[in-house]
């Protein structure tokens, strides 16, 4: 993960899914790791691929690319392990990503009612406007159902 200027009031990790970039608040990142063996066992949660072992923890792997870019990733370079909150509890979730991640500083604009639920806000970086992801909406949990009608044209807009 590369570290760029941290001039903004908050820090974010930029992740790449295919040709698109998204941002996650750095406070919600546990680590970035190389892909490792996925353990699979019977279950009925389609958003969960399986689990990986990391630092003694069993971490579910959730590929969110279909929700965000409309297709599954063809190649995975890393797992970005994020912290997902469930009420007052939190757990790690591994998100496959297709490229390097960057740590940047930026000011976030809050999302509006017009934004899709997994958008926590927007940041500007290198001439792009990038979605900041709301992981608690994007990744599965109790009562969760995946969104499949994400307006892809809004996900990264050139300024």
């Amino acid at each position: 993960m590369t570290v760029q200027s941290e001039t903004g009031s908050q820090t974010f990790v930029l992740l790449r899914l295919g040709e698109r970039r998204f941002a996650v608040a750095s406070s919600q990142i546990a680590e970035l790791v190389a892909p490792s063996r996925i353990f699979r066992f019977p279950h009925r949660s389609p958003a969960v691929e399986g689990v990986i072992l990391r630092r003694g923890r069993i971490v579910p792997v959730c590929d969110v690319s279909e929700q965000l870019i409309g297709t599954r990733l063809k190649a995975r370079r890393f797992y970005l392990i994020v912290v997902r909150h469930y009420g007052d509890k939190s757990e790690w979730v591994a998100l496959p990503v297709s490229g390097e991640c960057e740590l940047i500083g930026a000011d976030m604009s809050a999302s509006s009612d017009a934004d899709i639920p997994h958008v926590a806000g927007w940041i500007s970086h290198d001439g792009d406007v990038i979605e900041v992801l709301n992981l608690d909406v994007l990744t599965p949990g109790p009562g969760w159902t995946p969104r499949t009608d994400a307006p892809l044209e809004l996900q990264e807009t050139a300024t």
Binding site: F41, H43, R44, V51, V59, E91
Partner: protein, 178 residues
């Protein structure tokens, strides 16, 4: 083969488990939850067919003492490719006799991690959690998760039609028909 109930020492926090296979997949169950292990052959003569609409995973019942046990096909329960099944676990304090393919081994687990919250479907009732064993992750089944209350009610209703003379079925000294 009979297993005694497991007593967990508070200091060690370990638990004896049985690793077993269903349709090639590996699962674990607490050895204390398994009252008996029987071969399918030993039950074949005494099992009675049952047909509960919408519940294909149970096709037979066997009597054990005063109770009727429902034979749950493990492969169908977990949505796996069907196999013939060679062994049956009689699960303690349940109405379930679980049809499996074979026992891998008995071992000890030192840590059971709750199923991650990302798993949000019926597997939450199937599993107590996950355990890491020898560079593998194995789901630990919940004995009472093979049949829920609704399914048991459905099966009991079908049982009346399947076994009108259930009380006449012989029971051997080992507790199961042979």
């Amino acid at each position: 083969m009979q297993f005694p109930a497991t007593h967990k020492g508070p200091a060690l926090r370990t638990e004896q488990i049985i690793l077993f296979r269903v349709s090639g997949e590996l699962f674990a169950v607490s050895s204390g939850a398994v009252q008996e292990v029987r071969s399918v052959d030993s039950l074949a003569g005494s099992a009675t067919e049952i047909n509960a609409p919408g519940l294909a995973k149970v096709r037979h019942i066997v009597r054990r003492g005063e109770r009727s046990l429902f034979v749950v096909n493990g492969a169908m329960h977990f949505g796996l490719p069907l196999t013939s099944g060679l062994l049956v676990f009689v699960l303690r304090s349940t109405r379930t006799a679980l049809l499996i393919d074979g026992i891998e081994k008995m071992t000890t687990m030192t840590r059971l991690q709750g199923l991650p919250m990302a798993f949000n479907q019926e597997e939450r009732s199937w599993y107590r959690g996950l355990t890491a064993l020898e560079q593998n992750v194995v789901p630990v089944v919940r004995p009472e998760g093979f049949l829920n209350d609704e399914e048991i009610s459905l099966l009991e209703a079908s049982l009346i039609h399947a076994m009108p003379g259930a009380a006449k079925i012989s029971v051997t000294k080992r507790g199961l028909p042979s």
